[in-house]
Symmetry: C2
Subunit: 118 residues, 2 copies
DNA sequence: GGAATACGCAACCGAGGGGTTGCGTGATTG
DNA sequence: CAATCACGCAACCCCTCGGTTGCGTATTCC
């Protein structure tokens, strides 16, 4: 198989958790917040979130586990920040999907063209 | 930066369903399949999926509702194909996140630099 | 030292989602 | 026309997930 290039062929399996993380509205809002405001503490992120601090905590830990976010202790508070590399990975996966789709359509088209109607 | 009036500022609200759709492993596999093999019927997609045709049907309808996929009848079978525009939209949303994150980090850095330690 | 802050842990709950089975129906084929 | 194929609909089950409440603990502030 001549698939030497594109060694970073994105696997669905490690992109899926990221998408799952982005799928929830609360988590999506958290990501948006972190992307525009920079690193923030849990209680800071909980302000005006509409849900409990525990809910936010759970989401943050889930996103941490998914690699979308990274937390670190500073004194008595824990600061969470975005992990842009994961987002980049997810983005490239979407690119791959689009590219595959294009070539699939092209193959289909040429097949139909060369297929004589009986 | 004068493409259009970039009213295409991606809203989380319409990108979230797409991510949610991609989040499930079964649906992710469906997307991968459709992207590499082109348009396929329900029963075709059900072959080797590991789950029932009904499950596949549900997923396809869900993804249709999310705009990720589009189905059309052909005789007695219904063919589903990818909707690359939605994927493109999701991709651009991830771009936006990255861009916002970068500027947020830059703002933070300059703030720290100009902030005298007490 | 004592109060307030920022957080972690655990139990619990209701809704929804993924999956299945069963059955009915229109389209195809021979 | 009969058999088969591809599909839709509906009911049901189970388990995860988002969210809450309650309580305990380390840290900071005065």
């Amino acid at each position: 198989m001549s698939r030497h290039r594109n060694s970073a062929a994105p696997r669905i399996t490690d992109a899926a958790p990221v998408f799952a993380a982005l799928g929830d509205p609360t988590r999506a809002r958290l990501v948006a917040r972190l992307s525009t405001d920079g690193p923030l503490s849990i209680s800071r992120l909980s302000e005006g979130a509409g849900v409990t601090r525990q809910a936010i905590t759970k989401h943050l830990h889930a996103m941490d586990k998914a690699g979308l976010v990274r937390g670190s202790r500073h004194g008595r508070e824990q600061i969470f920040e975005l992990e842009p590399r994961r987002i980049e990975k997810a983005r490239r996966y979407l690119d791959q999907i689009s590219a595959d789709w294009d070539s699939a359509i092209n193959r289909l088209r040429s097949f139909v063209e060369t297929d004589p109607p009986a």
